[in-house]
Symmetry: C2
Subunit: 231 residues, 2 copies
């Protein structure tokens, strides 16, 4: 039965749903919690969404694909794609690493530290820029095996491999110090940037580590770790 | 009512209890799960331990204080100290950082990279050596506020502050590059060593990162991060 849709109420429910999923997890999120967070009755939710699965899937998909239009007929049914299928389009549109890929495609720039700083900063900026999506994917990956595979196995592995290729190339050219294990070094870049730029919220004493300029200090330590000639 | 105690059964229950607490958490661990893991009946557990709290507290305390003797009378009651009070004696006996403290007490050694490598390696070794205790403390800290405070606020803060003191001293002497934020650098050492040496088990694709020599690669990247003169 087609009914016209008041967009702000649906958007309000989706925003409340995001907070609930991030807090409770995808599998544990309930319609009652979303209704409470949105300040509407449970009946209202079912007026706009066909069932819990349709609501939660739209909540997650809209974080990855904000461009996707909601159907105008009510109640809204399942999205046109599985959550894990929304990862690739997201990455294609929002996750570009032009500095890294240009660097891989050409011989070493002189001075190498300028190029390296650009490449490291590009990744740190990416981590900060995609924080909302990463949080959602991380939470849902506990319950959605396909998503976990698409993000952590395929995408992260691809990223690590691209940075490793870059490092190996520069080491072979003699532009970087002979880092003994470039596989480790690439993971070092990825994991420590994610730890310091995203997971600070798990920190036990956040007040003692200034978050201002955190990204700069991180770039500095990583840059010296890769390029350092101090030994 | 005093009864003689067959030590191997009690030790068996304590070991099973450790596995259950690490897996389920301190607050969620149940006598039934411990009994199942130990391969004994629930009644047996109550034969040896007065109640759930006495059992779980002994499970945790014994990881921190393996030297502490269990009472010989059954059923065993509460341990002689709170869990959070066992942290300080553990640290005093098992967590010594002589290289760091000697380095803080004297002017820079030449060459500085040898001293720095020793100081970094000492911390990495500590992380590996205390893995079992850290796992237990981490799990229980979610439920025991006093423990969280003793370990993460007091102990970790003290550690970070000692490394920061060392770094500041060497920077002032001109023996290390002028790291802009030694507070960050000290946390960088602590947190990334813990991430790479302990939390690899959370890894999504562990097979691709060789764990052999992980500590060496880590020391290498940290060492260059601190001492590097590549910029």
């Amino acid at each position: 039965m087609a009914r016209p849709r008041p967009p702000h109420i649906v958007e309000n429910i989706l925003r409340a749903g995001e907070a609930v999923v991030v807090n409770d997890g995808y599998a544990s999120a309930s319609i009652a919690s979303v209704a409470r967070a949105a300040g509407v009755g449970v009946g209202s939710i079912y007026h706009y969404f066909a069932d819990k699965e349709a609501l939660l899937d739209w909540v997650v998909i809209r974080v990855l694909r904000p461009d996707l239009l909601l159907p105008s007929d009510l109640p809204i049914g399942a999205p046109p794609m599985a959550i894990s299928e929304a990862v690739a389009p997201y990455l294609n549109v929002h996750v570009q690493l032009p500095c890294l890929h240009e660097a891989i495609a050409r011989p070493a720039d002189e001075p190498i530290v300028d190029e390296l700083r650009t490449v490291i900063r590009e990744f740190c900026d990416l981590v900060v820029r995609t924080d909302r999506v990463q949080t959602m994917v991380e939470v849902c990956s506990n319950d959605i095996e396909e998503l976990r595979r698409a993000w952590y196995l395929d995408y992260r592995r691809m990223l690590a491999s691209a940075y490793e290729t870059y490092l190996r190339r520069r080491i072979e050219e003699g532009a970087l110090r002979p880092i003994e294990n470039p596989t480790f070094a690439a993971r070092w870049l990825l994991d420590s940037a994610i730890l310091f730029l995203r997971l600070r919220r798990l920190d036990y004493y956040p007040d003692e580590l200034p978050t201002e300029h955190l990204s700069e200090h991180l770039v500095d330590m990583l840059l010296h770790g890769f390029a350092g000639t101090g030994t």
